[in-house]
């Protein structure tokens, strides 16, 4: 069983909502990223989505773009991102790690070499933003053969027929994009998200998590109540932007990750409400 499957099944059995923070590898530098990853786990993350820096992040809003630019300024590459995970795994074999990014760095490394390295360092899943299922056959097969999950997005614009096809190839969890737009945009239409999640439930038993536009405890609770879990990216990266390079300061790590701790409390609160009622 894949690590992500174990995590999601345990969470489902316990009635725990999945909390999945996103950060960019190497933002502001690799030492901070390592410290942040461990701190995110301490504050309640179940799975971490680790962004591979790419020069042209066309699906990301300004906050994550700047995070990527900080990482690239320090020269962080896909190879460095993989090394970061291997460092992380020295102390943590429980937390799920999903690499998230754009295809070109993986394409240039070569699919075979990438999958071998990802397996070796302890990555659990891969989400390539600009690689829809129709273009993913070869990489998907290699990931599948290595027992790694390939995670796909479903958006508000995705038709029911297409969503069904996506759920059939997706493994680990299904990532529902809450809005039409880029990461970090304002999420306003909760009702249409609820309807879409209900429709997706008819199509699949995969855990469904919601991302884009979740920025605090209130939106975490709202989206968590509709789904199996949530992803928080821009709201975390925005706080990482305040960190300075150089020596890693433990209290700064704690402060940057507080948004995740607050989301954890809000999600756990949903469960207590449910138990009480």
């Amino acid at each position: 069983m894949s690590r992500i499957k174990a995590i999601t099944e345990t969470a489902a059995a316990q009635g725990r909502k999945l909390l999945i923070p996103y950060l960019v590898a190497g933002d502001p530098d690799l030492a901070h990223s390592l410290g942040l990853m461990h701190e995110l786990v301490r504050q309640g993350a179940d799975i971490i989505e680790l962004g591979i820096p790419f020069s042209d992040p066309a699906s990301d809003g300004p906050v994550i773009q700047r995070g990527v630019e900080r990482a690239l300024a320090g020269g962080t590459s896909l190879a460095d991102t993989l090394k970061l995970v291997s460092q992380f795994r020295k102390q943590d074999s429980q937390t799920g790690i999903v690499l998230m990014g754009y295809l070109n760095p993986i394409e240039i490394m070569g699919y075979g070499q990438f999958v071998a390295a990802a397996t070796e360092v302890g990555i659990d899943g891969v989400l390539v933003v600009d690689m829809p299922p129709a273009e993913s056959t070869e990489l998907h097969q290699k990931l599948h053969d290595a027992d790694l999950d390939t995670i796909y997005l479903v958006a508000p614009t995705t038709s029911a027929i297409r969503a069904k096809a996506i759920t059939e190839v997706c493994s680990g969890y299904l990532y529902y994009v809450s809005l039409k737009g880029v990461t970090g945009a304002a999420l306003t239409d909760h009702e249409s998200v609820a309807n879409s999640i209900n429709e997706l439930r008819q199509l699949t038993d995969l855990p469904i998590v919601i991302g884009f536009g979740i920025k605090d405890a209130v939106s975490a609770a709202a989206m968590g109540s509709l789904s199996d879990g949530i992803i928080i990216g821009s709201a975390l990266v925005e706080r990482i932007a305040d960190m300075s390079l150089g020596t890693v300061d433990a209290s700064a790590l704690v402060r940057s990750c507080e948004v995740i701790g607050a989301a954890r409390a809000a999600l756990d609160g949903l469960q207590e409400d449910k138990a009480a009622s």
Binding site: L72, Y102, N104, M131
Partner: protein
């Protein structure tokens, strides 16, 4: 121009790619975020229907004739030919189109598509500003709201075109992210499209981007090659021996080449921006010196480093200053149907002056790359041979750049 030139009709040909999934061999495809997949699939479907609809092409042809001023002449460059001492050189005068370049052939077609799809808002990316101006122009012509994304660097470098777009009623958005040039403008346009996908049509300016853009932009630009073919047969009684065009994204080149692809006796040369020289790394020549990768919705040759980051490019010509190239060109390179070569900044500048002085035609700096290569090529061919250069745009927009580089004050 003879009467039968107005008989050259547009439409699609069945020569080759893309295949049903939008690929040219291993290149092309649809590499976009999930939010945009539905939009490009809808576009592909509607384009497939319209491209079989004679009424659509009749409307397009009418716009080309009455608004753009087509057909454009095929002109014998007598003094340039004499100076090169070899093959006869003919110029396909796309510079005489309304707005001064081939770009408008595409923007007219896509704006008509947008109208058929019921979209009220169009967006475009631009580097030098030519595609931005052509988009703003057709938006004004058809009464559509228009937003043009342009790298902040380019906004400064191309101030007259920025003002031109504003006069035409477009909103010009300066893009501050990344390298603040054309590729970043394209990223920002893709973000806008994902955000406003319901009412927005994205007019991509070249034969790149996700399927069906490389196909439909090519189809709209093929009027160049079709006219050239008819004009050659009429003026020479035969097809030309060689075609030469500059390649940035590659829309003017594919427009000229595509109708000749099956004519095996016609040699083709796509000229990339060699910048300061391919050996320096400071260039914009992915076909000559790059490798296959994925950017902006398609797999193609790219300027990319060992870690997969897109590299910054350099060219004296803003319109060629792009790290990718249309996927059909990538395919034609691998098939060895088209020869891809490069001309440096310096060679382009020399050609710019040469054509200006010998023919009284000021070419765009982009086009000057094609002229530079064609002059050498002509010299190596015998006088009974004929070369057609796609004179893709006029150089008025570049006179400030040329003056600055040569240390002259205007």
């Amino acid at each position: 121009m003879s009467e039968n030139m107005s008989e050259v009709k547009t439409g699609t040909t069945g020569f080759d790619g893309p295949d049903a999934t939008g690929h040219f061999g291993p290149y092309g495809g649809i590499f976009v975020g999930e939010t945009l997949v539905a939009a490009v699939e809808e576009l592909a479907l509607i384009y497939q229907e319209l491209s079989n609809d004679e009424a659509f092409w009749a409307e397009y042809d009418s716009e080309l004739k009455h608004y753009v001023g087509r057909p454009s002449p095929l002109y014998f460059a007598e003094r340039l030919t004499a100076a090169c001492g070899g093959a006869n050189i003919y110029l396909k005068r796309e510079d005489l189109n309304h707005t001064g370049a081939h770009k408008v052939n595409n923007t007219i077609g896509q704006a008509l598509l947008a109208k058929h799809m019921g979209k009220t808002r169009i967006i475009a990316e631009t580097g030098a500003g030519q595609h931005g101006v052509a988009s703003a122009t057709v938006a004004a012509r058809l009464g559509l709201e228009c937003h043009v994304y342009m790298g902040a660097e380019d906004v400064v470098r191309q101030a007259p075109n920025v003002y031109r777009m504003k006069l035409l009623g477009a909103n010009v958005v300066a893009v501050e992210s990344g390298s603040r040039t054309l590729k970043d403008a394209m990223n920002e346009a893709l973000r806008d499209w994902a955000t406003n996908v319901d009412d927005t049509y994205y007019i991509i300016g070249t034969v790149a981007g996700p399927h069906p853009y490389p196909q439909l932009v090519r189809d709209f630009q093929c009027i160049i090659g079709r006219e050239t073919k008819a004009q050659s047969l009429e003026m020479l009684g035969k097809l030309p021996d060689a075609l030469v065009a500059c390649v940035g994204g590659g829309s003017n080149a594919i427009g000229l080449f595509h109708p000749f692809l099956e004519d095996k006796q016609v040699a083709m040369f796509g000229v990339e921006a060699g910048g300061k020289g391919l050996e320096t790394g400071a260039h914009a020549a992915p076909l000559s010196a790059g490798k296959p990768g994925v950017l902006h919705g398609n797999r193609t040759y790219l300027m990319t480093d060992e870690g997969g980051q897109i590299q910054e490019t350099h060219s004296v010509s803003a319109g060629l200053d792009y790290p990718g190239v249309g996927p059909e060109h990538a395919w034609l390179k691998d098939l060895q149907r088209v020869n891809y070569v490069a001309a440096t900044d310096e060679e382009a500048m020399q050609a710019f002056h040469k054509l200006t002085r010998l023919e009284g035609i000021i070419p765009a700096l982009e086009t000057s790359h094609a002229i530079a290569y064609a002059m050498d090529l002509a010299g190596s061919m015998s006088p009974d041979k004929n070369i057609v250069i796609n004179l893709s745009g006029r150089g008025d927009k570049d006179i400030e750049t040329v003056a600055r580089i040569e240390g002259n004050k205007l």
